[in-house]
Subunit: 197 residues, 2 copies
């Protein structure tokens, strides 16, 4: 029904999260009818991201350079490390604007179901960052089975190094994903964080 | 807060219709975290569309070749012409599956507010398609002020050529856009279409 090239564009857009056929059609029409500049900008920025986006050598967050903006910021407390599962979570916490330490991105959560083992994550790299200056390691992981499992595993490793570990208060709704949590709840969760025994 | 290249991608995606910052962020993360194949497919299909999508020389619908799939289909009745304002409307009507004639895309609607004059549209090209074999010209235009104005203008031109003109029944909700109408309403509107006096 659609010209083949248009049909191909619609189908390619349906891989985006939450985008069904109807929405993909709207986007496709916008891309071909809208300003050419805007469309070219999208293509250019996807290509730039593919080429230049890398991961920070310290915290494994996304970065444009070897070291990300947060790790290279001397106004932040580098002795407080907030451990998250993915870069999305870093951006969620930054948006809440409450935390002034640095991050460590695990790049996943331990999951027997998905076959993700501790060695698949950046846990060893986290342990190497711990020294006698480390004031606190905050585990900011989702309140899901996988988040709990990972928190338990990481906290045991850290305790054996005598690092002070805390985790976010259960301001997070149980079963909820960290990335969808609103700023206020995230802030409360930061304030009420508890030392892990 | 985001790396510059990621921020640029998010902002470029916000030009899509109905996409705010939060959705653009989700799309951007999907594009950088999802399968590389899928992302490359989107880029490739936008580029293919930009290069190969053209307009049909007969009806002004989108086409991959000089003549679109509908105009080159000999199983359709080429003596019944359905007049619509944009290619989107062609696809909406095709989806309803009720109409077996051909189309004419006006490429807009007369609008004093937006400064669109009759000569900016493909009205002359429509009149050239009318001959003694023409059985019916169906005006399928939105039930808005601009749709009404255009229908009146086009019907007068067609009547002066003795072409039988009808328009969609008011199954269309008043003030509604044709492209958002559901299949059933569109079908009813086709069935109940009335000859213009």
């Amino acid at each position: 029904m659609y010209p083949d090239s248009l049909e191909a564009l619609i189908e390619s857009l349906m891989v985006l999260p939450g985008v069904g056929r109807k929405t993909a059609e709207r986007y496709a029409f916008h891309l071909i009818e809208g300003e050419k500049d805007a469309t070219e900008k999208i293509i250019a920025s996807i290509e730039t991201v593919n080429q230049s986006l890398t991961q920070c050598k310290i915290c494994y967050n996304y970065a444009d350079k070897e070291i990300c903006k947060i790790c290279s910021n001397q106004n932040r407390n580098h002795n407080i490390i907030c451990v998250v599962s993915s870069p999305k979570d870093v951006f969620s916490i930054e948006k809440a604007g409450q935390f002034n330490g640095v991050y460590h991105v695990l790049k996943g959560l331990i999951s027997t179901r998905k076959g993700v083992m501790p060695e698949d994550l950046t846990i060893n790299e986290l342990l190497k960052r711990i020294d006698e200056n480390t004031e606190e390691v905050i585990l900011a992981l989702s309140a899901t089975v996988e988040g709990e499992t990972t928190a338990l595993y990481v906290s045991k490793k850290l305790e054996s190094m005598n690092a002070p570990v805390s985790r976010l208060a259960f301001g997070l709704p149980i079963g909820g994903q960290l990335e969808y949590t609103d700023d206020m709840t995230l802030m409360k969760a930061f304030e009420g964080r508890k030392r892990m025994k």
